[in-house]
């Protein structure tokens, strides 16, 4: 421990042994993969990260296909797999898939809405080698939470499943998706995470593409809410050090610097859709005109990662326009989010307007301020039919 680096450092980009220096320095061996097992879900959250056009059950990869995919992932050096969806527990083969991940040495994480899990199934998952459970919450109590999720009695069920998760000895992360209509409950959500004996809490402000973009007017927080939230999170992080680890995702319309989306496009992570499409991020299909390879094609996952047009298009810094190209932060935030750039400017190759250096930043900041003040609170719920408008209150 003589040099300046800490004895246990956060992971840095690592290329394959034998790769020439400089040859592949813009990206590494993928660290983790988000496996979206299905787009089916009993909840109807208006900010769902699934695409607007969801994949149907009959198109989903089979158990054998997912097992072959996991074999390949382990072989190319992927270390972690996040089973997600939709709701991954919809899949009858979930325990089998977790067991296979364990067998090939993948660290497995279940990202779930929790409402379909029983204690017996959680025990089976733990026995199959599941390493971690992440449960989403929509609020601190049933009235707000069940309305946001569009699922009656969901909140109470989540609390029960969170308790069972700890009872079977699995570590727990609570993922709280925050927006204008539940940010006032954040202090209670933090208390709830501590009481549930969670190790981590993600305070994740909604990111606006896909369903969330469709619902932006109903979700976008006010600037005052954001300032209050920053204070609440900072105070809780300090008070709960060593007890609850709090990750904070700021709402980037109000940010000065864009988020380092996915740690950089095609750099360390990727996503596999229910039907097997290999995507640089879970929202990448919102960028129209881009072609994606599938695990059902005749190409290996390693080939897709190294060579596909979609992955190479926004890798590194060569593709960047100004003001990114000459920006001192270009290798820190990689120009922000490509999907957001596409959604707000029409071109995925533009600077993310979340960045204060973008010409459009002032405009989206103003739009966020205006929309949040209008208090249009009705949701468009996520479903397979293009969305359902919330009934008006009587």
């Amino acid at each position: 421990m003589t040099d300046q680096s800490p004895p246990v450092a956060d992971f840095q980009l690592i290329t394959r042994t034998g790769d020439e220096v400089g040859q592949k320095t813009t990206y590494g061996i993928p660290l983790a993969v988000l496996a979206e097992l299905t787009h089916r879900c009993p909840l109807q959250c208006p900010y769902c990260s699934n695409p607007l056009e969801m994949e149907v059950a009959s198109a989903e990869l089979t158990t054998a296909e997912w097992c072959r995919v996991m074999d390949e992932l382990a072989e190319i050096g992927v270390l972690q797999i996040h089973f997600s969806g939709g709701e991954p527990a919809v899949r009858k083969d979930l325990v089998e898939l977790v067991r296979h991940a364990t067998q090939v040495g993948l660290y497995s994480n279940l990202i779930t809405s929790a409402v379909m899990l029983t204690k017996a199934r959680l025990q089976e998952l733990a026995d199959a080698g599941l390493c971690h459970v992440q449960i989403s919450v929509q609020g601190s109590e049933s009235i707000v939470a069940d309305r946001v999720g569009g699922f009656k009695n969901g909140h109470v069920k989540k609390l029960q499943v969170a308790a069972w998760t700890r009872e079977v000895g699995l570590p727990l992360t609570i993922n709280a998706v925050m927006h204008r209509q539940n940010l006032h409950q954040l202090p209670e959500i933090i208390d709830m995470a501590v009481a549930l004996d969670a190790d981590r809490l993600e305070v994740a402000n909604v990111q606006y593409y896909g369903w969330a973009l469709k619902n932006r007017e109903a979700l976008i927080p006010t600037f005052a809410q954001v300032e209050t939230t920053n204070q609440i999170v900072a105070e809780a992080q300090d008070r709960l050090a060593g007890i609850l680890d709090i990750d904070y995702v700021v709402p980037d319309y109000y940010a000065q610097r864009p988020k380092q989306c996915m740690g950089g496009w095609g750099r360390q992570f990727f996503n596999i859709s229910p039907s097997g499409k290999v995507l640089p991020c879970h929202a990448a299909e919102s960028i129209t005109g881009m072609e994606f390879d599938s695990v059902r094609g005749n190409k290996s996952i390693r080939w897709i990662w190294d060579n596909s047009e979609a992955f190479n298009k926004y890798r590194g810094t060569g593709w960047m326009p100004e003001p990114c190209q000459s920006c001192e932060f270009k290798e820190i935030d990689f120009g922000g989010c490509r999907c957001q750039a596409f959604a707000l400017t029409g071109s995925a190759g533009n600077t993310d307007p979340a960045c204060a250096k973008s010409d459009l930043h002032a405009q989206i900041f103003a739009r966020a301020t205006t929309e949040s003040a209008e208090a249009q609170d009705r949701f468009i719920y996520r479903n397979f039919a293009g969305g359902a408008v919330e009934a008006e209150e009587l």
Binding site: M1, S5, P6, P7, V8, A9, D10, F11, Q12, I14, R16, T17, I29, L31, A32, I76, G77, L79, Q80, G105, Y107, N109, C131, H132, Q134, G169, L170, P171, T173, E188, D191, M192, V194, A195, D197, D199, R200, A241, G242, I243, D245, D247
Partner: protein
Amino acid sequence: MDQSSRKSRPIYDATSRPVIPRHVKLRFDITRDRWVILAPERVLVPDDIAVEVLQLCDGQRRIQDVVDLLAAKYTADPDLILTDCLALLQDLANKGYLLAASEPQP
């Protein structure tokens, strides 16, 4: 809702017996040719000394026992090793990657 915390921050001293919990994996990664620590949403890279310390933390040994082993192996100053070990292990415990086993595990 119950406001009281069920767990408290683990504070290590030389008599603590740290152990890596089941959900944290210290593993040699063949593809990258280095040791890694796998934890929820995190991959960490321990240096050689940290790997050696963690491999000795089995829930049976006290931190002092780990220090004595390393001091004998490297003929180094035990006080200095103890200071470094406590800093390393406390940092990992604060992040939830180590448990404090107060009694030797069966």
